[in-house]
Amino acid sequence: MSTIVLKSGHRDGHTHGDEKNYRHHKIGHKHGEGFSIDAYAYASKIRDWNPAFKVSLSWLTLILCIVLNNPYVSIVVIIAMAYLTIIVGGLSIQAYLSILTIPISFIFLSTFTIGIDFSTLPIGQYNLYLGFCYVFTSQAKLKIMFFLILKVFGAISAMEMMTLSTPSFEIISVLQRAHVPKLIAELMNLIYRYIFILMDVNNKMRNSADSRLGYCDIKTSWYTFGKIASNILIVSFKKADDYYNAMEARCYDGDLIFLEEVKKVKIIQITKAAVFIIFLILLWGFTR
């Protein structure tokens, strides 16, 4: 009886913790976004779709979006992927927008240089005198810039559909089946598992340093940072030994093999995906 009580108590404790992960701040981001992406992937309602299907759909869409180079296709991709992630996958709109905005400044900076140019003469369709030179642009150029932004966002949302619905280890196992070298796949698996432990250890060390005034001024902060970095290195070596022992104790003999759940692809899913892809190509054909 007591174990049953225990379990429900635990589950409650858990949803609470999860809620904390899902509750999102306003649009924008702060440190640890990677963690929430991971949490969203586990919470996604399309998590039980076959990972290979999701990964290939997302890659195919990404490639089509880039190769077809068509604003209508880009718009359809953006809408379709948002639909998959938000409506079907059940992610909140705020969280989705917040994640999409991570690369936004990068995109604007890089497309800006395509849209505008500088000159000493007042040329171009529109220009602005800055005192020593002219900034100029034209409708055609702005159009290129705008289409490029659409294309990039289409590509990003295709990738986000994958990362927000497929936990990393599933993506890794798909890569493994796609014959990515075993060493790389195993490394990815281990890194994914241990990055959380590393973060945890780092956090603990930082807190304990902070509680002893380790960050009271800039100079001390740098000093503490260095100390923590070297300490983490030593701790990692020690822990690596422990992990290896624990793995050996369970008959590890050189090959990391994990049990995987088989998730079947439904015919209806493949059909829908095929219709979507054909629609994209037709759309491109008609608006070319």
Partner: protein
């Protein structure tokens, strides 16, 4: 008593820093025994466990499992039959989901996939964590991780299970859950070795106690024998279980007749006092 299931003879191990971590350890372990391993930090308990499992290779000495002496060739047999639940679950959990984690051992045993799935399901049900099957370990609490690490070993169906300080860092409720699991495993006839610093736990749970001190076993007997031996307690920096202290105190104050019948639990103590 029959043949010992695990026979350890003259084990020496040195970490390479001059001091011997194990300095001639010999012990016979019989099937179904409940053994507590006690001793201060750095007395060699963990090193002893890693040696018995074959992770560390002893400098000297031999281990035989069910009459077969363990060498390089049949090392896997030893690891298969002796499972260790490590002190820090985070040091043990390697996979990214609970299911893959519990399946890690059976997969390494090269069992067919259906068998692995069956064992994983059984182990998760056993530990009451079937619902967490698809969770990643980094979203589990300490107590939940501990259960996963125990399920790991249950799925391997080891005959001997070693727990390295299982109660460390657990809250009372989880510690109680752990004791229930230990009881359940016991009733299934598993042989268990548990290292701990909790003398009260040793007193109420163990049938046999090994006391480690500076790489040697300085005492081997029932908890009662060991906790009555002042010299050993002093040497290994141990204290008496509260139950024994209270009993002795009552005897000293002439409130209780000295029959040396130490009560094993609070319940037994209550009955003893009730009979007076």
């Amino acid at each position: 008593m029959g043949e010992p299931i695990l026979k350890i003879k003259d084990l020496y191990y040195d970490y390479g820093n001059g001091t011997a971590a194990l300095n001639g350890v010999s012990v016979d372990i019989y099937e179904g025994e409940k053994i507590a391993v006690i001793g201060s930090n750095g007395a060699g308990k963990s090193t002893f466990f890693l040696n018995t499992n074959g992770v560390l290779k002893p400098d000297q000495g031999e281990i035989s499992y069910r009459g077969t002496i363990i060498n390089k060739k049949n090392l896997k047999e030893l690891r298969k039959n002796i499972g260790i639940v490590f002190q820090d679950a985070d040091n043990q959990i390697i996979a990214s989901t609970v299911m893959a984690e519990v399946g890690f051992g059976p997969m390494n045993l090269k069992l067919p996939k259906e068998e692995v799935l069956k064992r994983v399901e059984e182990a998760l049900t056993y530990m009451n964590i079937l619902d967490y099957r698809n969770r990643p370990p980094h979203y589990l609490s300490g107590g939940e991780k501990k259960r996963v690490s125990i399920a790991d070993i249950i799925a391997m169906k080891s005959e001997i299970i070693i727990f390295d300080e299982p109660t460390a860092g657990l809250d009372p409720l989880n510690a109680q859950m752990l004791e229930e699991v230990l009881g359940k495993l016991c009733s299934e006839g598993k042989t268990m070795l548990i290292s701990t610093h909790d003398v009260d736990f040793v007193y109420r749970w163990a049938e046999r106690t090994l006391v480690f001190c500076q790489g040697k076993i300085i005492a081997d007997g029932t908890p009662l024998e060991i906790f009555q031996n002042e010299e050993i307690l002093k040497q290994a920096n141990l204290k008496q279980p509260t139950m024994m202290e209270v009993y002795d105190l009552l005897v000293e104050k002439h409130l209780l007749e000295d029959t040396k019948a130490y009560p094993i639990s609070t319940q037994a103590f209550k009955e003893m006092l009730g009979n007076m």
